[in-house]
């Protein structure tokens, strides 16, 4: 096949499909190239799609999209060696749109790609893009294993494996401390069992992030998300630390699932699928060149993920939308030069997501250099509360003194102050 489109999008994930949707809605002739059998077949999400960015593009999408559960409850579970502390926030307030839904990608991505197709975008599956084609120094299309495709503009949304960006000189291969491995299982359980165990009604859902054991020596955390008739359980951790600790991902998965605070949710469930994917944690400083003559980079390929909030898919959608918008403008003025396309970077850097990522840059590095943080605080929380709740004949003031000793035995006071200062500065 040798054809010319107004735009070619590499990858039918949320970033690529959004870009295609935005361009097709402006009557551009768009092709989406997907290497999988169908959109979503290569994709994994931990669990939650925050609705904000997609609802801005497609108001009310959540009433018709194939979503799992509306997340009404978010928790942090601080894990110790033999105990845990659960911090839970639940809201009965209904909002429009609801803040977030759990999703499964093979269903969601197919539905979403269909939306772009309905607007006229052409979806080409089972086709792998091997390189970006250049003509007169500008990117002019893509080479696939089924032939070349030409386009005025290429949107690169190839995901976390950024071979195209690297080949085109838009980014370097990121080091192991800027990428996380995520492993997940989908464990099926009857809907009523899920509602019982998590205290949920009908379509309500819960999301739990697990900090501390067994992720102590790592920079990572575990998660449990409720789907309609299954639970997504897994973890994400920086590759550098996995290598450093010589922990095998599947062994860590089993250890995590065996934790009493996890096991009680999964009991009698049946593993339906075992998955692994990478999460870009390179952050602001590890981002690729977001634009060049004839091309824009979006989604995971642009390193858009926020480890603090678990955002990823929604940021992919945000970037896809801005990329599509800028490409549409470029199409209107028939100018695909980097000076026209640079508007994409400006818009992205002005978005809430990138402002956060910019502010937070260096935070993961700080944690990596202060690994103790990952186990000290969850451990201190647990020991302190255990002391507080235990009735053993000592006075409350004795207990508070003991708690102070417990906390400072886990992390020196000077370090605690420095942690507070660093986190404060990176977040506020």
């Amino acid at each position: 096949m040798t054809e010319k489109f107004d735009a070619v999008v590499v990858g039918a994930g949320p970033a690529g499909v959004t870009a295609a949707y935005a361009m097709a809605s402006s009557k551009m002739n768009v092709a989406i190239i997907e290497r999988g059998e169908y959109p979503g077949s290569k994709n994994v999400i931990g669990g939650v799609l925050y609705t904000k960015t997609l609802n801005d593009l497609m108001p009310g999408f959540w009433k018709e999209a194939p979503l799992e559960r509306r997340v009404i409850e978010h928790s942090y579970c601080l894990m110790g060696k033999h105990e845990h502390t659960l911090l839970t926030h639940r809201s009965a307030r209904r909002s429009d749109p609801p803040n977030g839904y759990t999703i499964l990608r093979s269903k969601f991505d197919r539905w979403y790609a269909r939306k772009a197709q309905d607007l006229g975008a052409t979806l080409v599956t089972k086709t792998n893009v091997t390189e970006l084609l250049r003509q007169d120094g500008k990117i002019a299309g893509v080479r696939t294993d089924r032939g070349d495709l030409f386009a005025d503009v290429v949107i690169v949304a190839e995901g976390a494996n950024t071979m195209l960006c690297e080949k085109a000189g838009l980014n370097e291969k990121r080091p192991p401390n800027e990428m996380a491995i995520a492993v997940k299982e989908v464990v099926s359980l009857p809907s009523e069992r899920i509602r019982e165990r998590f205290g949920l009604e009908e379509d309500e859902g819960a999301a739990i992030e697990y900090l501390g054991e067994p992720f102590g020596g790592l920079v990572g955390f575990g998660f449990v998300y409720t789907n309609r008739e299954s639970i997504s359980v897994g973890f994400g951790a920086l590759i550098s630390r996995m290598v450093g600790e010589k922990i095998k991902p599947y062994d860590l998965m089993e250890r995590f699932k065996a934790e009493p605070s996890v096991e009680r949710f999964l009991r009698d469930g049946q593993v339906k699928e075992y998955q692994a994917h990478m999460i870009p944690e390179a952050g602001y400083t590890g981002m690729p060149r977001l634009f060049t003559d004839g091309a824009l980079v979006a989604g995971d390929s642009a390193m858009l993920a926020n480890p603090l909030t678990g955002e990823g898919a929604d940021l992919a959608i945000l970037s896809g939308r801005l990329a599509g918008q800028v490409a549409t403008h470029a199409h209107g003025v028939s100018d695909y030069s980097s000076s026209t396309l640079s508007e994409y970077q400006r818009l992205l850097l002005n978005s809430f997501a990138l402002k956060d990522m910019k502010k937070q840059s260096g935070l993961l590095r700080y944690i990596e250099e202060n690994l103790e943080i990952m186990s000290a605080y969850p451990g201190a929380f647990n020991s302190a509360l255990e002391e507080w709740f235990k009735v053993d004949g000592s006075t409350r003031s004795e207990k508070i003194k003991r708690i102070r000793r417990i906390v400072t035995s886990k992390r020196k006071v000077t370090r605690i102050l420095r942690d507070a200062y660093t986190f404060g500065r990176k977040l506020m």
């Binding site: 071979m163 192991p176 095998k248 599947y250 593993v271």
Partner: protein, 87 residues
Amino acid sequence: MRLEEKLYLLRHVVDEESHISVDQEACARCAEKACLDVCPANVYSYVEPRVFVAYENCVECGTCRIACPFVQWVNPKGGAGISYRYG
């Protein structure tokens, strides 16, 4: 549940050609062999003096490519490889 049983649940379209290759000479000199530890699908194994690659089990996370400089990892050809049913 053993990893083998979990991998057995997955749908793969197997290509006759491997999308992964390693530099055996470099592997022989490599003390760390991160590939053996980081791969979630246990694609890599070492039987002296070679690293063996069971590419047909690859779930395409790309972790090995980041963890090890000696792995040549590309996408399987279009339509081949892992096909998640849930995702």
